[in-house]
């Protein structure tokens, strides 16, 4: 009996070692998979919309605030690796400084037909808390200089402003770097 137990245990361990292959064969495991899939589907059903704006709308709505708030506006895209890498720093700034008047806006430059398939799933998967809008404006040559004459067009890029004090950064940020820049506005 003892031997039988050991053998069964060994078999079970073995089945864990190669999960992907076993998932198809093993009823219990596939039930787990199904449950998780169901959860994902439920989450997707709760998905919010990501608003698309052209540059004029974006500028009017977010770049001309005269309040006491500090606006941190980051240009990114789901396919842009350095952008994705620095997003947690922006999220952390927003939460660490939630008692201050700080607004983080993430402006996605994903192609408009990727909103449903990539942008929203990305926001869900990574639990992005900051507001996300999609800039749908093909004529970049006319709007890039309006964000900043210094901008070559590479992303990530970030604008921080408070009233008329405005700075532009064509670079990736670590949390510490972003915090240092933010403090110059506080």
């Amino acid at each position: 009996m003892k031997i039988l137990v050991i053998i069964l245990f060994a078999l079970l361990l073995h089945s864990c070692a190669d999960m992907e292959k076993e998932a198809k064969k093993d009823g219990v495991v596939s039930e787990v998979v199904q449950k998780e899939n169901l959860q994902n589907i439920e989450e997707d059903l709760n998905t919010e919309k990501v608003v698309s704006l052209n540059f004029e709308e974006l500028e009017r709505k977010y770049f001309q605030k005269k309040t006491d708030s500090i606006y941190i506006i980051n240009f990114w895209a789901t396919w842009c690796k350095p952008c994705i890498k620095e997003l947690p720093a922006f999220e952390k700034i927003a939460s660490d400084y939630s008692d201050k008047k700080i607004k983080v806006l993430l402006v996605s430059l994903d192609f408009p037909d990727k909103i449903e398939g990539q942008v929203i799933p990305f926001i869900k998967k990574n639990k992005i808390q900051s507001e996300v809008v999609l800039l749908d404006d093909a004529d970049a040559n006319s709007w890039i200089p309006k964000v900043s004459p210094e901008w070559s067009g590479a992303i990530p890029a970030t604008v921080i402003y408070k009233k008329d004090n405005r700075k532009f950064y064509e670079q990736s940020f670590t949390f510490e770097e972003l915090e240092t820049e933010l403090k110059t506005f506080l």
Binding site: M1, K2, L4, V5, L8, F9, L12, L13, S15, C16, M19, A23, V28, V29, V32, V33, E36, A77, T78, W79, C80, K81, P82, I84, K85, L109, F111, F122, K125, N126, A138, D139, A140, N141, S142, I144, P145, W151, S152, G153, A154, I155, P156, Y169, E170, Q171, S172, F173, T174, E177
Partner: protein, 236 residues
């Protein structure tokens, strides 16, 4: 004996449950790991801020180079004795804006190579950071996309930095100094985008690059010398 049997069964049940629940955990972890790998870049400690690329301005002399083409040959601008100039485009395999531009780049080469302005494409990305921009995948890309022009690998990442390319695609239109003949210097005449709508070729209104080449061919001053477009930052 009976007690032993019950005990054994119990032990088995406990082991089985533990084993299964550990399976479940492993699987969850696996999924999270995949999610992270999909989204987050491998550790590259350098950020764009560390390299302040000054680069060329209009009128500067552009450096020649000797870079490896997807064919395996080394290519330099000086190899092109009869060229009047060059359409140098920093591009890559992976950037959605580069991919959206592929057909247009092939069309530009077809139009302007016979007129003396061949396309020279250069991949400036570090495959250790962006693994799909490897030399092998450049070869696959050139074949699949039907590139009619050299697709060179800036392996040392020095050429893009000299030019000041910050993103892909990033165009430098060069004109050979005619007075000096085939040994002439290559002067930067236009920097920027291919046109005003990278996402949709059929919605283009201004063909910045083609206009600039045509103006050079007609001996005119280029009317729009610099343009901006969104691109993927060069992966250092």
């Amino acid at each position: 004996m009976k007690t032993t049997k019950i005990l054994s069964s119990l032990a088995f049940a406990v082991i089985a449950i533990t084993a299964f629940s550990s399976c479940k955990n492993e699987q969850k972890q696996g999924i999270e790991e995949v999610a992270i790998n999909e989204n987050v870049e491998t550790n590259d400690s350098k950020t764009n801020s560390e390299t302040v690329a000054v680069g060329y301005k209009i009128g500067d002399e552009a450096t020649d180079f000797k870079l490896k083409d997807v064919s395996g040959k080394m290519v330099s601008l000086s190899d092109y004795k009869d060229a009047k100039g060059f359409i140098v485009i920093f591009t890559c395999n992976t950037c959605p804006f580069a991919i959206a531009s592929e057909e247009r780049i092939v069309a530009l080469d077809n139009e302007f190579k016979p007129k003396g302005y061949p396309v020279i494409a250069i991949n400036p990305n570090n495959p250790e950071v962006q693994e799909d921009d490897s030399y092998e995948l450049m070869q696959a890309k050139a074949k699949e996309a039907g590139f009619t022009f050299p697709y060179l690998f800036d392996e040392s990442q020095t050429i893009y930095a000299k030019y000041g390319a910050t993103k892909t695609p990033h165009v430098y239109l060069l004109q050979k100094d005619a007075a000096a003949g085939s040994a002439g210097k290559n002067i930067v005449k236009y920097i920027g985008a291919i046109d005003d709508n990278v996402r949709n070729a059929s919605a283009v209104k201004e063909q910045f690059l083609a206009n600039a080449v045509n103006e050079l061919l007609e001996g005119k001053e280029i009317s729009v010398k610099e343009t901006k477009a969104i691109g993927c930052s060069v992966k250092q």
